[in-house]
């Protein structure tokens, strides 16, 4: 394996995780990762050699946006089977909670969802997200804010309010 291939393999698990957090179901997530890798290999000559993971996640974010744009602006409702397909293979303490949040995420705008996932699940700082997505810091913050308020509204609409045990 070349250095590039070894490096891609090393970040692939995190790329898959990110794809799952953006996609409607497991098969969409697999398609996204596959498309992303094909693009990355096709463009490997243009990779500058720094932070491969961010580069791949940027490609994947853009692919996801394009794909949803092509498929139509309104994300389709998730049916039970699909929600369960995403669930399999991932550890979650409370399956009900998980289904609820996954369903709520599908109603977010894809751009807002991407920012939320990059910050919360992938642990990027706001400035890093701005750089990755090539948007101003203020746009990162407004997308994050909208995503959080939208999620809160949707989850409240289910008559269930997320709780947290604070120390």
């Amino acid at each position: 394996m070349s250095r590039f291939e070894t490096d891609v393999l090393a970040v692939l698990p995190r790329l898959k995780r990110y794809a799952r957090s953006l996609a409607r179901d497991a098969s969409d997530a697999d398609d996204l990762v596959q498309d992303c890798l094909e693009k990355a290999f096709a463009r490997r000559a243009s990779w500058r050699g720094d932070n491969l993971q961010s580069w791949l996640m940027t490609i994947l974010t853009n692919l996801n946006r394009n794909r949803l744009r092509k498929a139509g602006t309104t994300p389709a409702m998730v049916d039970i089977d699909d929600a369960q397909a995403v669930e399999s293979g991932q550890a979650s303490a409370d399956p009900l909670e998980r289904d609820r949040i996954v369903a709520a995420l599908d109603r977010l705008h894809p751009d807002q969802r991407a920012v939320l996932m990059l910050v919360v699940v992938e642990g990027y700082a706001y400035g890093e997200v701005a750089e990755m997505l090539d948007i101003p810091l203020g746009t990162v913050m407004s997308r994050l804010s909208r995503a959080r308020r939208m999620l809160a509204t949707i989850l409240e609409g289910h008559n269930i309010v997320a709780f947290r045990r604070t120390p």
């Binding site: 394996m1 590039f4 291939e5 998980r98 706001y126």
Partner: protein
């Protein structure tokens, strides 16, 4: 925004607080602000709960597996100008224009030499074949070993290869028979063997446009071991609920006889 007009605390501070991205001195200022602003405190608590739920739902990192490695290696071997999905889609469109039948449409998708697809499908397909057919008591195969010549002639014709059933008797396995199975949207051949203890192993042979095979790959899922490899335009996979070493020994014999 829930911040007071005269407050230096911005909404960005509140997000950063919820995300644990604030410097310690700033954190203290935000905490003081939240103590005076119950609405803001409730909202921040809600965001933190969302964070916890999202990390719980998506935070687990899937482990890299044999398929990942096969995929990366297959991509690494591609020529930069290799036809991608667009080309495949164009191929489909041409078939429509030419009035191609549905059957030929399906195979057109893989005719581009999609070695990646084959490499990804192989271990899973082999495992599934094993699980479905090896557990069958009365009808594990379509054609049994008593008609070996007919079996290999028939399956060989379907997959486009002169097929001979490998002789695994030196390792205690006898041919049970075989059947035609779908593999990567084309016909594939499955051969089944059994030892004196009744342990069964299956060999799946399908067309693989990738000629670059130089090694055995191993995968173990759900208690089923699989060795798979590419050889001279064909994909081979051997599965069984047997140990890795025993299966590798069998795989070497199969490889040597092809």
């Amino acid at each position: 925004m829930n911040t007071k007009p005269d407050s230096a605390i911005t909404e960005a501070d509140l997000h950063a607080y919820a995300d644990g991205l604030l410097a310690p001195d700033r954190r203290a200022a935000v905490e003081a602000h939240l103590a005076d602003n119950p609405d803001a405190a409730a909202e921040v608590a809600n965001w933190q709960a969302q964070n916890a739920a999202l990390r719980d739902a998506f935070g687990a990192t899937p482990a890299a597996d044999a398929e990942d490695q096969a995929l990366i290696e297959a991509l690494g071997r591609q020529r930069p100008q290799r036809f991608g999905r667009l080309a495949i889609a164009a191929g489909f469109a041409l078939f429509f224009l030419a009035g191609g039948g549905a059957g030929s449409l399906i195979t057109a998708g893989l005719q581009r030499g999609d070695a990646i697809a084959v490499a990804q499908l192989l271990p899973q397909a082999s495992k599934t074949n094993y699980l479905v057919y090896a557990s069958e008591v009365r009808h594990p195969v379509e054609v049994d070993a008593s008609q070996e010549a007919h079996l290999v002639g028939w399956l060989g014709a379907r997959i486009g290869k002169t097929l001979a059933a490998p002789d695994l008797s030196a390792r205690g396995y006898a041919l049970v028979g075989g059947r035609l199975v779908p593999f990567a949207e084309k016909p594939g051949a499955m051969l089944m063997y059994e030892n004196a203890e009744g342990d069964r192993v299956t060999i799946l042979i399908g067309v693989n446009p990738d000629h670059h095979g130089t090694e055995f790959r191993f995968d173990e899922t759900d208690g089923v071991s699989t060795f798979f490899w590419a050889d001279n335009g064909f994909a081979y996979a051997m599965s069984g609920a047997v140990g890795r070493e025993a299966l590798l020994g069998l795989a070497h014999v199969v490889y040597a006889q092809n």
